[in-house]
Symmetry: C2
Subunit: 379 residues, 2 copies
């Protein structure tokens, strides 16, 4: 697949103006763009600029409601439940995490849970907000049902990421991962390359392991039986019940505490929000004593892990969030690679909403591009 | 391996009197026994009665200090840090979880972290305490270094379980699992049965996959390179970085927030506590609104998971904690199976501390028993 590189500023300006065109305020457009571009900079392509057209489609379907405002429906000094009213996931979540940070700043720890939201981007964006404020941040979200739990052949659980971040030097501990063995996007990559997927990633309608990426993806799209496996695959021998457990913790923190929809009750209907639920937990390290010493201790421990004896002398050992920092530094210098199919889609989208794509992206050659979604977005 | 069944009362009386003989008070002996026997009843043999002799050995070595009392060294309305002073893990942890429950009862949520403790039994005992009080309970502990992280061949991390429980009907959601792909005890079982372990469970000194259980166990015992792999094995393809991440969350919550020893700094020296660290988090569901409705919603969701279409019609789908309830019901009726090597060890221990084992266990035949530890406990 070929890529074209754009500067951070180019993509930032384009996305901000695009969201403004979609109907968001200037401030809102900046927030959404910031979430998308952090994903790009951190190398999580599936959650970056390539979502622009998908979000626009949801807005056109009124699944994402432009004018919906997050509403606090229950509150204590350490908690809140927010009804997202079907608004943009990033805006609701930015509001919710700020509320959790504010509460934790006063009480020491806090949890805010959210219902009736939409896709919120990378979970780790919000934990980074807490981390940048000097706090431990935790975030979870549920999603569309794609994951098959132990001994089941029916996808009930979502990709259900858990993110956790804590300040450290020279870079924070920043963990963000789906509780499925792989995210859906990884199957899409294997599919495009016509490669069989490894055993233990997915099952077909019969509940048996499938190494055919297209087959597993079709199961998810058609909402038939089958789907992606939770971490640990489908046998307890490799820890399937553990992945299933982490996914459940995600559902409980996100959907159960917010009185919202578990992944199997999310909807994809015109005029209705997806029903996504999230959680945001913030802990002020100061509630345990000297926060500076704690940061120093964590930094030293992370260094011990990086300095451990390598299984292969040529392969370095990383701590979580380290690769993302390198990726960001590299892309800020060399540009952000966007695959040409996404570029072509963005150009179409710009034409559609009345933006001059050349003003942002310059003159680019997208011959060879093919639209990624089966259903073409702009006809 | 052959087993002898004893009633819950038999083992309870024996353990309580044994711990009293070791030097604990009557009340303390009851608490420790309760933690051990819940493990037996829930089918987690490795953490039940079979630990009796090992704990006694640690007490004789002054690694577990009989008279040490947990000490609150830092405190806020939502938190505390406890120095265990090298005392018995179960007593320190029982105290810590009660403190977290008390604080969460007042503020809505609380976290207590513990340093300088010893092995605390099953993590899920403490989350059950919170759950029995109507709260969400979370607990983590670190341990001796046994786990090799992604791209490393050096065991730095512990088995590092994460436990999470929340009230539901007809039984709570109760999850408790090591963040390694399997616990050490599972390798011991394969070793006794001379079976090769599956690829992806452990690596040898060279950092390469080993299917030889004895080899991997030797690596851990000798503190050479090699060890058990974190969940997801040793490749990112199967999610190794995720297991590594969950294990890190465990270290952070347990050791970093308590200013204690990460797993790689635990000690096994005569006269010093192991250095184990734990965390206890309690969330009152009432801080999100109607706790009864929340319980009802979770119960309904758990039922949906159990009712999902089965991959194999003959294999039922469980939710976490369900099997443990069945195990407990069965054992309360039919007795708790204890393997004869453990029974033989307990009889020797009774003789050693001056208890009449027959008074508790009756006349049992332990011919064929062999002591489990390489170093015989009572000579």
């Amino acid at each position: 697949m070929s890529y074209i590189k754009f500067s951070y500023e180019q993509l930032k300006n384009l996305c901000t103006d695009a969201f403004f065109k979609f109907g968001f305020t200037e401030k809102e457009s900046e927030i959404i763009t910031d979430v998308l571009l952090l994903a790009d900079l951190y190398g999580v392509k599936s959650h970056g600029t390539q979502r622009l057209a998908r979000y626009h489609k949801s807005i056109e379907n009124d699944t994402i409601k432009i004018n919906a405002k997050p509403q606090i429906v229950f509150e204590t000094p350490v908690s809140a439940v927010i009804d997202g009213n079907g608004g943009m996931g990033q805006l609701i979540s930015h509001f919710a995490m700020n509320l959790a940070i504010e509460k934790a700043g006063k009480t020491g720890m806090a949890m805010v849970s959210v219902r009736n939201s939409n896709h919120y981007g990378i979970a780790g964006y919000y934990t980074k907000m807490a981390c940048d404020a000097g706090f431990i941040g935790i975030s979870t979200t549920n999603s569309e049902s794609i994951a098959v739990h132990t001994n089941s052949k029916q996808a009930i659980l979502g990709s259900n990421p858990i993110a956790f971040a804590m300040p450290a030097d020279p870079y924070p501990f920043w963990f963000d991962a789906a509780t499925t063995v792989v995210p859906r996007g990884r199957l899409e990559v294997y599919n495009k390359e016509s490669k069989p997927i490894p055993e233990g990633w997915g099952v077909g309608e019969d509940g048996k392991t499938s190494t055919d990426a297209q087959h597993v993806l079709d199961c998810i799209t058609k909402k038939s039986d089958g789907g992606i496996l939770v971490m640990g695959g489908n046998t307890e021998e490799m820890g399937s019940h553990k992945g299933y457990g982490y996914s459940m913790i995600c559902e409980i923190l996100s959907a159960i505490t917010s009185f919202g929809a578990t992944s199997n009750h999310h909807v994809r209907k015109k005029g209705q929000g997806a029903g996504s639920c999230h959680s945001f937990i913030v802990i002020n390290p100061g509630i345990f004593g000297d926060a500076d010493l704690m940061k120093k201790n964590l930094s030293a421990f992370l260094q011990e892990l990086r300095d451990a004896k390598r299984a292969n002398p040529d392969i370095p050992i990383y701590t979580h969030g380290e690769k993302e920092i390198y990726s960001k530094e590299k892309m800020m210098k060399e540009g952000i690679p966007v695959n040409i199919s996404t570029v072509a889609e963005i150009i179409e989208l710009c034409n559609y909403v009345g933006l001059d794509s050349k003003q942002y992206l310059g003159d680019v050659d997208v011959s060879g591009a093919k639209l990624i979604d089966n259903d073409k977005v702009y006809k």
